[in-house]
Symmetry: C2
């Protein structure tokens, strides 16, 4: 499917529902409002699904369904204060311009997700107009996308066209069927909605099944968490028996991944299982096996790669 194409002169962002003053904002209206800038890592809830064993249903993402960018835009709270949320408001629904069919619903559907009011009015939740100091590229949601720092990226709705304030929980399929942790097979009655990014790390080099030269090696990777800063990263080169701290390349920055490196004295030829394990300031630490769930979301298992030293 092509990305939604938008004529900014005709585009309007409507803010409706349980508000004092419905709004119809132009792109220029948004550009004229005060902007903030922050670095935010966006991770797909299905990142690393392909590493699950046994396999789980859904797109088989490896390590690449994550990225980091600097976002500039209008705090969502500014818009909500302009519209005036009524006290009965419970959730805010964000509707994108991207439409498609699902297997479980007959009609054409646009992508919609909600936020509780508390997260929506958090000062870091953003209507982003710029990505890395340039207008949003078409594929990243031009003209305006939501950026919900600390949450998995399903919440950061792209190509926004409508904000609806409602008095009840939103039950759209991308809220109630997808992006929910169902931890028992065939039991869709009890699920936990996905919100905060869980502490995680990936080894970028060496890659799984790679052969490296004997001697001094450096292992590289990234570590991240949701709204908690990631504070520790430990590496094992012997399959999890001995753990040693790696060195941070980036300092702590909220909502933002941190690159790390680890000096590995790979003096003896052989097979090595290299593992990375991150912890965050809340005390959360990656486990050997992430929680199993039907759709394989939130895979924050300790990452491991098998490497051969020659």
């Amino acid at each position: 499917m092509p990305y939604p194409k938008v004529d900014v002169d005709e585009w309007r962002l409507s803010v409706k529902g349980c508000v004092e003053e419905p709004l119809h904002l132009t792109y220029n209206d948004l550009l004229r409002l005060p902007q903030i800038t922050q670095s935010v890592t966006l991770e797909c809830a299905g990142n690393k699904r392909a590493l699950r064993d046994p396999k789980t249903r859904g797109e088989q993402f490896l390590l690449g369904a994550i990225s980091n960018a600097v976002w500039t835009g209008v705090p969502l709270q500014t818009i909500l204060y302009l519209a005036g949320i009524r006290p009965e408001a419970q959730e805010i629904v964000f509707q994108g311009m991207d439409v498609g069919f699902r297997t479980d619903i007959p009609d054409l559907l646009s992508y919609s997700r909600s936020l509780p009011v508390t997260k929506a009015i958090h000062p870091d939740t953003l209507l982003a107009l710029f990505m890395n100091y340039e207008p949003l590229p078409a594929k990243h949601g031009f003209p305006v996308r939501l950026v919900v720092p600390g949450w998995y990226a399903m919440g950061s709705v792209k190509w926004l066209r409508r904000i609806l304030v409602i008095e009840h929980p939103f039950d759209g399929p991308y809220q109630s069927r997808d992006y929910v942790l169902y931890t028992r097979p065939d039991d869709y009655a009890h699920g936990v909605p996905i919100t905060e990014i869980q502490v995680n790390s990936s080894i970028a080099y060496p890659t799984d099944q790679q052969t490296v030269r004997r001697g001094n090696q450096y292992v590289y990777g990234i570590a991240w968490s949701g709204s908690n800063n990631v504070t520790e990263i430990d590496i094992s080169t012997d399959g999890g028996h001995i753990w040693q701290p790696a060195d941070w390349i980036d300092s702590e920055q909220r909502y933002t991944w941190r690159r790390w490196s680890f000096h590995w004295k790979a003096d003896l030829p052989g097979e090595y299982m290299i593992m990375s394990r991150a912890s965050d300031e809340s005390g959360a630490v990656q486990r050997q096996q992430a929680l199993w769930n039907v759709k394989g979301y939130v895979n924050n298992s300790i990452h491991q790669v098998k490497v051969y030293v020659e």
Copy 2:
């Protein structure tokens, strides 16, 4: 590593060794020689390595290490006739401008591969100057690359700088250690060099672990072989019990993949194992399990994806 960057005014292609008349050709020299154009699929010998079970060493390619393009350039035989190969010539070595380190050799090395004289003077073997009717992009080997139709892509040396005619077999590491089928663990004495692309096919849609809607579905993919045309493509939707022919989207064209589609009446919800199996005009047919080898090359196992119908 960045791609080699070439100033075409200074670049020369030297043709030396066991020849009557060594050549130093400029880019303009090559442009002025008669050109031919042909469509050629290039597949990495490690394509689909990640689908091997058990895993094998090397980069974990999935389905994407294959592409097709229309190549225009000077038949290699033209150059070899101009230089005059001597009767003692046994192989032709092609040296690229891409350099790097290996784990098993201390020195910096440029990528080099050889062809036997018979394959080198085959009228379809090409010094390509254009890809899809435009000058080669930097990453595809500008200014000139070899295109060896029907062979795995390790033979199609990019960023050419030197052609050396030799009187003995070439034993560079990319010829004698890599791109060789070692079929017994730890036995590097008996190997079969990789040459011709083996008959193969991939399912592009649906993807593994995808959920699709009940009713009429189309399965899409590609099938290919080396110097033999691919002639038949059969699909199973029940894990290999019943096979039915798919429909060709593309007609037969030598050295070129063919897209196919298969009308699948997915009327009943459930789990399906969809498989594709191609045959070529030599009678070769994909097997359930491709030949195991240490480095996991030439994975032409029948491709299978698990699909859920809802």
